[in-house]
């Protein structure tokens, strides 16, 4: 019965390998990742956030809710470790 899972894995692998050829070139300026919101960030980052580092502006300002969640996740992870192993 291991033949069917193996065939399934092979099929999915071949599909993924074929899909890789359709991906945009590395650093392609016309790729969807570079044409959607990135031009807006590049143009308005400094005047809207006052921060020259665009990564920080996106992480803390434009995606501020997400980063708030990340800090809470770290806090929760540490609380979990303390609860399991005890505070030393």
């Amino acid at each position: 019965m291991k033949v069917i899972p193996s065939m399934l894995i092979l099929l999915v692998g071949v599909m993924l390998a074929v899909a890789v050829t359709g991906m945009p070139e590395f650093g392609d300026p016309n790729a969807p990742a570079n044409t959607h919101v990135v031009p807006y960030y590049k143009e308005h980052c400094l005047e809207e956030t006052g921060v020259t580092e665009i990564v920080t502006a996106i992480v803390v300002s434009y995606r501020g809710y997400d980063t708030f969640g990340e800090v809470t996740v770290i806090f929760t992870a540490g609380t979990g470790v303390i609860a399991l192993l005890g505070r030393k």
Binding site: G50, V51, T52, T56, S61, F68, F75, G78, V81
Partner: protein, 142 residues
């Protein structure tokens, strides 16, 4: 756990003791320049935490804990989300949305925004640093 991973090696102990403050200084640099150059709270917190882990490996766990006591770690762990959330509420009180940094409040909006982003980064750095050190101490045992 033994007193130290490297025993009584004078070279390792001395180098670790000399290098640790510079690692912490570099961590503070990464933290404070997070809005000018690549860096930020998460990276800086891990860098500063690594200095305490280095001290624990070279000098032994008790000596590392002596330099970062439980009473200091406890409030630092929870202060990051608190700082972040209170800055968000401050933005509401200043007349904006939650976490809308660019509110004109004594200074022009983009200056206020830069200050608040730096404050948020500092809060993130404090929590990440204290939490990683605490997790390391908990996993290392007594």
């Amino acid at each position: 756990m033994p007193e130290s991973l490297f025993g009584e090696d004078v070279i390792v102990r001395t180098i670790a003791r000399i290098v640790a403050p510079f690692i912490q200084l570099f961590g503070l640099y990464v933290l404070m320049h997070g809005h000018i150059s690549p860096g930020g709270g998460f990276q800086a917190g891990v860098i500063i935490a690594s200095s305490f882990i280095l001290l624990a490996l070279a000098l032994g766990l008790p000596e590392s804990k002596e330099r970062f006591k439980k009473t200091i770690r406890l409030p630092m762990e929870s202060s990051g989300p608190l700082i972040y959330a209170s800055i968000g509420v401050t933005c509401i009180l200043a007349g904006g949305y939650y976490l809308q940094y660019g509110m004109a409040f004594l200074f022009p909006p983009h200056v206020v925004s830069a200050i608040l982003i730096s404050a948020v980064e500092i809060g993130i750095g404090i929590t990440v640093m204290a939490m990683i050190v605490t997790i390391f101490y908990s996993m290392a045992g007594d």
